[in-house]
């Protein structure tokens, strides 16, 4: 009778852990450790790079975050380059903006400014102009935690006009989408916006139509903040022309990531008179927030008013939650998930510029030590796109 020899790897000692428990442990590790442990053995390498592992790892992160009393993280990146032409991102705590670490942005953006378009599940979408022609855009998807990035293909349209971008996670399909709206405001006769959507799973752009009541989108408000993703839809502000009287008004546009349908939402009552370049949309604790700047009736000074839509889609649920007095010539750079407001004050007298971080709940202010205006977005560590095709490692 011949003795069969088991391959060493299959021989189980009494105290060896079953594979599903090993995965339970591995999905609780930080991204850097997970990547390193791909080198342990083939089974681990193939298990780690599955979509199941990646989403379990993400869920563990989210769960730990919910259980803890800590807030999340943000990442900020200067619009303009420094002397060496390499941008450096900073990861910091959401509430205090206290610095945790720095990450070098290793892409070559020939010109500035570069902007964080959005951030989902630890995956960043960043864009910048390329070359002298402002209609040339380059867009990257980037996961700094696993040091992988991917450049998006060119537009399916020829020339792009004025571009607005949004980035979203499509939860129904575990996919990611980039929305690009290209407008041509100075053209006569008026030209309609061109809209296209990129999906990661197809790695391509596709035209999308918009069928809404309004006659035309006059223009889209340029946002310094990423389009907030709330209730599965991206949001931005547009001025539209409606009806036979050609009435102009500002509305909140929304793009449902799953159905790819557009919708208009009314801005809060009382906010119409304050519309201007300081008007922003953001996500505050998972709800849609509307921020605008106006004059205080009492003090006569400037103030930000922040409304939050308590129940999504219910226009009556707009609730003015915060009023933040500000210095003149203050520009809102960011409004984070937990309510930290980052403003940029340009003091015209002594030409000094400073950044101030305001906690909208306590109105506590502190000077923030950055040198230049920056893009700010939420951040978390994740393995997103570890299983992606055509990714570049660095």
């Amino acid at each position: 009778m011949s003795q069969t020899r088991e391959a060493p790897i299959l021989r189980r000692r009494k105290n060896d852990l079953p594979h599903d428990i090993v995965l339970n442990i591995l999905t609780r590790l930080p991204a850097k450790s997970v990547i390193r442990f791909r080198c342990v053995c083939k089974t681990w390498d193939s298990s780690i790079t599955t979509p199941y592992f990646i989403s379990t790892h993400l869920n563990n992160l989210a769960h730990d975050h919910d259980n803890g009393d800590g807030d999340g993280y943000i990442i900020h990146m200067p619009w303009e380059s420094n002397a060496s032409n390499r941008a450096v991102c900073t990861v910091a705590f959401d509430r205090t903006f206290d610095r945790i670490s720095e990450i070098e942005v290793l892409f070559d953006f020939p010109s500035r400014p570069i902007q964080i378009v959005g951030s989902c599940n630890g995956l960043l979408c960043i864009s910048g102009t390329c070359g002298l022609d402002i209609s040339d855009y380059v867009i990257y998807l980037w996961n700094p935690s696993i040091r992988k990035f991917k450049r998006l293909p060119d537009s399916c349209f020829g020339k792009l006009g004025l571009v607005t971008l949004g980035f979203a996670y499509h939860s129904e399909k575990n996919d990611y989408k980039v929305l690009r709206i290209s407008s041509y405001p100075m053209v006569t006769p008026p030209m309609p916006d061109k809209i296209e959507v990129y999906t990661l799973s197809s790695d391509s752009w596709r035209r999308v139509g918009m069928s809404l009541r309004a006659n035309a989108m006059e223009f889209n408000y340029c946002s310094l903040l990423p389009f907030p993703l709330v209730s599965g839809a991206l949001h931005w502000i547009s001025r539209v022309v409606e009806g036979e009287e050609e009435r102009k008004s500002e509305v909140i546009m929304s793009f449902d990531v799953n159905s790819e349908e557009f919708r208009m939402l009314r801005i809060p009552d009382g906010a119409m008179s304050t519309m201007g370049f300081q008007t922003r949309l953001a996500s505050f604790k998972g709800k849609l927030a509307f921020l605008t700047c106006g004059q205080s009736e009492q003090s006569g000074g400037d103030q930000y008013s922040i409304w939050v839509m308590r129940e999504y889609g219910v226009l009556e649920s707009w609730n003015k939650l915060f009023v933040v007095p500000i210095e003149r010539f203050s520009v809102c750079i960011a409004f984070t998930m937990c309510g930290s407001l980052l403003t940029y004050c340009h003091e015209t007298n002594d030409r000094e510029q400073k950044f101030v971080l305001v906690d909208t709940e306590t109105l506590h202010e502190k000077d923030f030590d950055i040198q230049q205006p920056s893009s700010v977005a939420t951040f978390m560590e994740s393995l997103a796109l570890l299983d992606g095709a055509n990714m570049v490692s660095y």
């Binding site: 428990i21 609780r28 450790s33 080198c39 259980n67 009393d69």
Partner: protein, 126 residues
């Protein structure tokens, strides 16, 4: 927790050796969990105290016990603890810990290590 499984566990001869350790560690967990469920900081401190004197290798036994008892909270807690213990360790350390051997083709492993060289920075020395 299922009390019948607990009884079975203690009756099962194979588990006699680890019974003591499990009894003092695993069993009190559900009560403690309920008492300080609201406060995570306290739970973290309790966890650290509890496992301060437990070697990582012994954690393996605790995990197997929690798994056998179908006690999910303890299992997750122990797995979290192991994850914290190994997160900064080398590939070799982790192999020994889990009783694994490299089954890569020659050169394959080197290629992977080179691609992720950055993930090896700052790793604890064995």
């Amino acid at each position: 927790m299922k009390f019948c499984t607990v009884k079975q566990y203690f009756d099962d001869e194979n588990n006699n050796n680890v019974t003591n350790g499990i009894a003092t560690t695993v069993i009190p967990l559900p009560n403690k969990h309920l008492k300080i469920k609201a406060n995570n900081k306290e739970m973290e401190q309790y966890e650290q105290e509890l496992l301060r004197n437990v070697m990582p290798q012994e954690l393996t036994k605790l995990i197997l016990a929690a798994n056998y008892l179908n006690f999910k909270e303890a299992l997750d807690f122990f797995c979290r603890t192991v994850a914290n213990a190994i997160q900064n360790k080398s590939v070799d350390y982790v192999r020994k810990f889990f009783g694994l051997e490299s089954d890569f083709e020659p050169g394959e492993e080197e290629k992977l290590c080179k691609e992720f060289a950055w993930s090896f920075e700052g790793v604890d020395e064995d």
